[in-house]
């Protein structure tokens, strides 16, 4: 596990910036005894610069060759070595979809971390953000998607990934400091769900960096449930009971296909359920607020 002091320090860097430091602790804690980290010339973008210097023997830099990097990762993982493969989400998922599909077909155990997912990097253009990645991964059998919201949740996603077979995708969204109120004062209602109580009769359900944005905007007005794993879930009866205690459940996801809504909808709640996700289209680039407005992804008035 990681301590609160460390987490608070890392939270300034955002999820992708903190990833390398969290992975470093994960390896130091012997959570993975035999592993390789593979990137495609993007290690510094995921805060892996220090990791690379500290564990050069674990690090394989494949260069700007995502598809081959995914194939190399598959080859290594099929020799019973844990592999963590990562780059910008649209490249490592979008460009490598077939390689990921074939890795799954061969029953490889592979953990993929994709940063720049969602709209966090939308100011760089649609080349560098992805709203399709969850659907792409989920279309492949034997896959699990995590969308952590804090460094601790990144750690938990890594730990859960190492326990699960198949392809695990750790989706890192956002590109700014993580809201500190996400790091304490919650109720862990199930293995996958954290509840933040503000005594509202409406609850927002979300994941990833969106949790920081929503808590910033609606701190005292709503309760929040933040999920970490967003696909391949077992039926969560505690989550169902908790959500049924609210009048309205509002599901947010930075993805064309709202995976949070899918999870909640599958629970057959009595409560009213609302789906808030970006409209399926492209628009001119801009910051999160600009692009969200263009895509009718309204976090305030719904």
């Amino acid at each position: 596990m990681i301590d609160q002091k460390f987490e608070l320090r890392q939270s300034i860097l955002g999820l992708r910036g903190a990833f390398g430091a969290v992975l470093e602790i994960f390896i130091q804690n012997n959570e993975s005894k035999h592993c390789k980290i593979i990137t495609a010339d993007t290690s510094t973008s995921a805060g892996l610069g220090r990791f690379k210097t500290k564990f050069p023997e674990l690090f394989l830099e494949c260069g700007i060759s995502e598809q081959s990097a995914a194939g190399v990762a598959t080859g290594i993982s099929l020799e019973n070595i844990d592999v963590f493969l990562g780059s910008f989400s649209p490249f490592i998922i979008g460009r490598c979809w077939e390689q990921i599909r074939l890795a799954s077909y061969m029953e490889a155990n592979l953990t993929i971390f994709g940063f720049g997912a969602g709209l966090g990097l939308s100011y760089l253009g649609f080349t560098h953000c992805s709203l399709e990645d969850c659907s792409l991964v989920n279309a492949i059998p034997n896959t699990t998607i995590f969308e952590p919201s804090t460094p601790s949740e990144v750690y938990n996603a890594l730990k859960k990934s190492s326990e699960l077979d198949g392809i695990k995708y750790i989706r890192l969204t956002g590109d700014g400091p993580i809201n500190k109120s996400l790091m304490g004062g919650y109720l862990q209602i199930s293995e996958n769900a954290r509840l933040f109580i503000n005594k509202s009769n409406k609850v927002m359900v979300c994941s990833g960096y969106l949790a920081s944005r929503l808590i910033d905007k609606h701190k005292k007005k709503f309760d929040f449930i933040v999920l970490n794993q967003i696909s391949n879930l077992k039926h969560d009866i505690t989550l169902k009971d908790t959500l049924n205690s609210y009048q309205e459940v509002i599901c947010f996801h930075e993805s064309y296909e709202n995976f949070i809504y899918k999870i909640v909808n599958n629970l057959n709640l009595k409560s009213k359920v609302t789906n808030i996700s970006p409209q399926k289209k492209f628009c001119k680039p801009g910051d999160f607020n600009f692009v969200s407005e263009e895509l009718n992804f309204n976090l305030t008035n719904f």
Binding site: K36, S65, A70, V72, E98, L102
Partner: protein
């Protein structure tokens, strides 16, 4: 290769061609990828006899050597080799039968020495790199087709092979000159592969890939200071009368009494 090894080599090559015919005609789908399987018979026989160190007791050995048939459509050459070397048994080779690993393209089954699922061209070399990196004491061989060289991922992987100086990985390029819809030089363009591979940092060896004599001293040309690639000029459909050196041989029917050219 000494005389005894040369005889063993030519016997295996002949048996593989015979087995390709008997297995191919057993397919319920009748049309089979004969051309690319036949062009690489000498190559695969060399790899299994003189490069890889495999025997049946190794089937569950996780650190054993690996073979990657990147041009997966040529799988009949691999299945026939495994059978003729007794690495699999006759009843294992259920070619294109429901539920079998011995499909029209290889499906991973490590206990039966099918080390990776291939068939989607351009992916095999990356798997081979993964295997080679994960255990430097392991030997890995990979066969790539000349048509397949158009895949960008092959060139990504060649660069990675060179970067990590994987001397335990042996690559053969089967230059049979044809692909599905025409001559490779027409579709891909004609290029000086020798210069390109040299430029990538490989020890590049050119051979006549269907001539047994080309293989007799091949091992002596390998180096242990950089990765080795063998550019093997072959003939598509080699050894089968009627389909040799034809575009049609890529995926075709043959008669059970097809005349096979055997090496002396």
């Amino acid at each position: 290769m000494n005389k005894n090894e040369q005889n063993k080599f030519s016997n295996l090559v002949n048996k593989i061609r015979q087995r390709i015919l008997s297995t191919g005609i057993s397919s319920q789908y009748k049309a089979v990828h004969y051309g690319g399987a036949l062009s690489m018979v000498e190559i695969i026989a060399f790899i299994y006899l003189f490069f890889l160190r495999l025997n049946i007791s190794d089937s569950k050995n996780e650190s054993r050597d690996r073979f990657v048939l990147s041009k997966g459509h040529a799988c009949l050459s691999q299945y026939s080799t495994l059978l003729e070397l007794n690495l699999i048994q006759e009843n294992d080779l259920e070619f294109e039968i429901n539920g079998s690993s011995f499909a029209g393209h290889p499906v991973i089954n490590r206990k039966k020495f099918i080390d990776f699922s291939t068939g989607s061209l351009g992916n095999g070399l990356a798997y081979a790199i993964g295997s080679a990196i994960s255990n430097p004491n392991r030997r890995v061989a990979c066969v790539i087709g000349d048509g397949e060289l158009a895949e960008g991922s092959v060139w990504e992987s060649l660069r990675i092979t060179s970067k990590f100086n994987l001397t335990n990985l042996l690559i053969f390029i089967d230059l049979n000159g044809f692909q599905q819809t025409g001559e490779t030089k027409e579709i891909n363009g004609d290029m000086d592969l020798n210069k390109i591979f040299e430029g990538y940092g490989f020890n590049t060896i050119q051979i006549d890939g269907n001539n047994l004599k080309s293989f007799h001293d091949l091992k002596s040309k390998f180096v242990d200071t950089k990765p080795n690639v063998v550019l093997a000029k072959t003939t598509k459909g080699f050894g089968f009368e009627g389909i040799e050196n034809t575009l049609d041989s890529h995926h075709t029917f043959v008669k059970p009494d097809t005349k096979i050219y055997f090496h002396d």
